[in-house]
Subunit: 492 residues, 2 copies
């Protein structure tokens, strides 16, 4: 059975099936109607790189090294001056799937490090079309080079130079390129009768948001909605392609997101987290609860809904299970195999960990969530207009200083209070009962945790994408400055 994972930066509330009022995602809604909707599905970090590392390793970022110790509880990722990346010691899903004869392709943003040793084709992927970092820019080639776009081992151009993004109009045809790549890859695999793993990690909904001309101005929601509509259309075309090739019943497909909607970019460039609190960068529900749909015609009963507490890390274990493989036994794996949930409707008891960098901020068990630390962002950043919770403010919860609650965690019941507005009284029996259970889980987790070497501590202008492999052929090699490694600055 082949596997496909759509990983996008979209908020829980961006899909019609999840209550977006414009209801402009007919293909994703159809995917949900034909498959299974996960309502309690989480990413592993409120930021992109650590979530992606967790998805591909089945392990929490604090284990696989995708975190920082430069400051307490700071989100970190892989900008182009990052020195670190995915360690060789980590076993990635595509590396393991190779043993079962899979061909693995990544389309879109890799984000696990851009230096040669971190290249996706060194970590199990057979093919790549996309970029190592976010499509930020345009840059000037002096202070900062534009991000390269790779085909397999070599760059084939750079964003803004060879792959245009019009920041004024939001026009870019990248999603169409990425769609065509997916369709071609699937056709090729079907023709060769080889199982495949396709990781479609495109970034049209990440600021600077873009859409193709044919989608610009078509959404009620503005540019962000145009991008969502194009992604929705693309997902529909990929699923239809699988059906037309007659391989949909042999292909497990999962749609989800790497973090909550970036409310700092709203309303033009950011999405919606529905009824949840705050967004990307925070460990409130808006930062980490994700839209999620499993689709596998003939296997998953149509119209299913699951309240299984799920995680992007489960896609690691589930994809291995589909390939008849076991997860590695020499290390802690945080993902679980969701097949019993999906195929037999089981519910597996497991907690959800909400980390920000090196700190366990919160834990969810059942319908209860306990916050051990609360923080939105600092007063300093907030005073610059950076707001992760625009229009929302819950006293003592969306704090602008790092507040420790380890002795008396804030407890919420996410069933009757999905918006995390009403902490349960410390004096209540309910608090005592729920917290006793959760405290046990936290203790157990902390007692056995072996943190990985933090990969996101050091930044250096010299490691930026000055001269990626292949730059000579294109005449696009740039001169790197002297190496000057520094601690990266992670304000959030």
């Amino acid at each position: 059975t082949s596997s496909g994972v759509f990983l996008l930066q979209m908020g829980w509330g961006d899909l019609g099936a999840f209550g977006e009022p414009s209801k402009e995602t007919p293909n994703l809604d159809q995917m949900a109607a034909e498959g299974m909707l996960f309502l309690d599905f989480y990413t592993a970090s409120p930021l992109c790189s650590p979530s992606r590392a967790a998805l591909l390793t089945g392990r929490l970022p604090v284990r696989n090294g995708f975190y920082t110790t430069n400051g307490h509880a700071r989100n970190a990722y892989t900008p182009q001056d990052i020195v670190g990346g995915i360690p060789d010691s980590e076993l990635l899903l595509p590396e393991l799937l190779k043993k079962a004869g899979y061909t693995n392709k990544i389309i879109g943003k890799w984000h696990l490090g851009h230096r040669p040793q971190f290249h996706p084709l060194r970590h199990g992927f057979d093919e790549w079309f996309g970029s190592p970092n976010c499509h930020f820019g345009p840059y000037d080639s002096t202070e900062r080079p534009n991000i390269p776009v790779y085909r397999d081992w070599e760059m084939v151009g750079r964003y803004y130079e060879d792959f245009k993004i019009d920041l004024k109009t939001g026009e870019a045809n990248l999603t169409q390129l990425y769609l065509q790549e997916a369709l071609d890859f699937i056709s090729k695999q079907q023709a060769s009768q080889q199982p495949f793993f396709l990781y479609w990690a495109i970034d049209a909904t990440h600021a600077p948001v873009y859409a193709s001309k044919q989608f610009l101005g078509t959404s009620q929601r503005g540019l962000y909605g145009d991008a969502v509509r194009e992604i929705d259309d693309s997902v529909g075309k990929i699923l239809k392609h699988l059906q037309q090739l007659g391989i949909s019943e042999n292909t497990f497909v999962f749609f989800t997101s790497d973090n909550g909607a970036a409310l700092i970019s709203a309303p033009r460039q950011g999405g919606s987290n529905g009824p949840f609190l705050c967004g990307k960068q925070t460990t409130f529900e808006g930062g980490m609860r994700e839209p999620a749909i499993a689709w596998w015609p003939g296997h998953i009963p149509a119209g299913g809904v699951s309240h299984q507490l799920g995680s992007v890390m489960d896609l690691f274990s589930t994809s291995l299970s589909l390939a008849g493989l076991q997860p590695p036994s020499d290390r802690q794996i945080d993902g679980i195999d969701l097949l019993p949930v999906i195929l037999q409707g089981k519910l597996i008891d497991r907690p959800i960990f909400y980390y920000r960098g090196n700190e366990l901020m919160a834990l969810r068990a059942g319908l209860y969530k306990a916050h051990y630390w609360t923080w939105s962002n600092s007063w300093e950043e907030h005073s610059k207009g950076i707001d992760f919770c625009p229009g929302q403010s819950v006293a003592g919860v969306t704090t602008h200083t790092q507040e420790e609650h380890t002795h008396l965690p804030l407890l919420f019941h996410l069933g009757r209070d999905p918006g995390e507005k009403y902490p349960i009284s410390f004096a209540s029996e309910e608090y005592q009962r729920a917290l006793e259970h959760i405290s046990g889980l936290v203790q157990q987790h902390k007692a056995t945790l072996v943190p990985g070497q933090p990969q996101l501590n050091v930044c250096d202008q010299a490691v930026m994408n000055w001269s990626p492999p292949g730059c000579e052929k294109l005449g696009k090699c740039l001169k790197a400055p002297e190496s000057d490694p520094k601690k990266c600055s992670w304000p959030h």
Copy 2:
């Protein structure tokens, strides 16, 4: 064609189909899947009585008299010391439907006045089982009598005495009684082959929230969710009954709500307005945008979605149209006939008016909404812990003083900003263009408006439900105090 209207106090975000994360409304979701979902549907007031008066008259409360002039922009309703009620001069939907041979029944809360002249059977209904006021209580029979429950002309008991509601556990079997009434009425009408109008206006989700024993503790959402589940189950049973009797294709059914979820009662007794701002009592989207589903098998295409700006007042005009009747031509009717929308997918250009008492607070045209006044509630009320926007605060928008913006209205684009968080810049071309259009609509509305006599100004302890008709037979007549009419106090 018969008509059924389910009118409930539920928030936009309370249904699975509208994104409630627990997704516990399978029957309503199924109703939506078989019918048409309205995503931009509004009530006529952020409070119950005026909305109900508007639904049944097809006219804004400021026209039909369901408002107050005791204070500026105050919400008013019909507590049991209210002197006023629905004026005889108003023509109610059931009065008109009678001309086409309909039998009309109201089940549940009437709320258009409880003195004899306002009795629903004097205003077109043929049958009634329910109460004239909210099921507040229990009262002591001295300061305040418990609310009576009527069958047709006479009371058959009182809440808390003969119709139990356990405020501690939330247990009450009232929804089951109201369900059985509906099933029996439909059976009777089917047997007699008479067209009917059924107005099922039950109040289990209005604080104090209640549910039957079999539903208590079954929801992830606590007591409120239990009540929602029972209502969902009941709606499913009523629709199934229509199908089993073979009359579903001759019965137009509409589900909606009279105001947004009462966030002051959350989390135990209040619902969800999804991504919208604030709740009941306010003219933000959370106060007035409602869940809405039209169902009419064989006529409405399954799975339809409409962005028609709709109103509860449209149920008046639509029901008349279904009966082959014309709306009265001697008065302004604010409702429109939705049949072209529902059957042919048309979109009719019309504004939505957001009133609070005697003041037009805001107007929506297309995707733009202009606020002429902003107010959540007063600092005085807020300081008592009454919060209509818990956890939400948008500077200059969710104001605690009545802020006038008539010269420079706050403008929002509800497509990219459904949460009303980002006022559009006054200096922008978009602002100028949208506002020019909206100003014209406001001017036109104000120039032709003939306000009705305000019915909700005077309160008097003597008019409470001391001795409703039928009390003698039950030995339940109470002695009224001396009449002492006063201006009602409307703090919000």
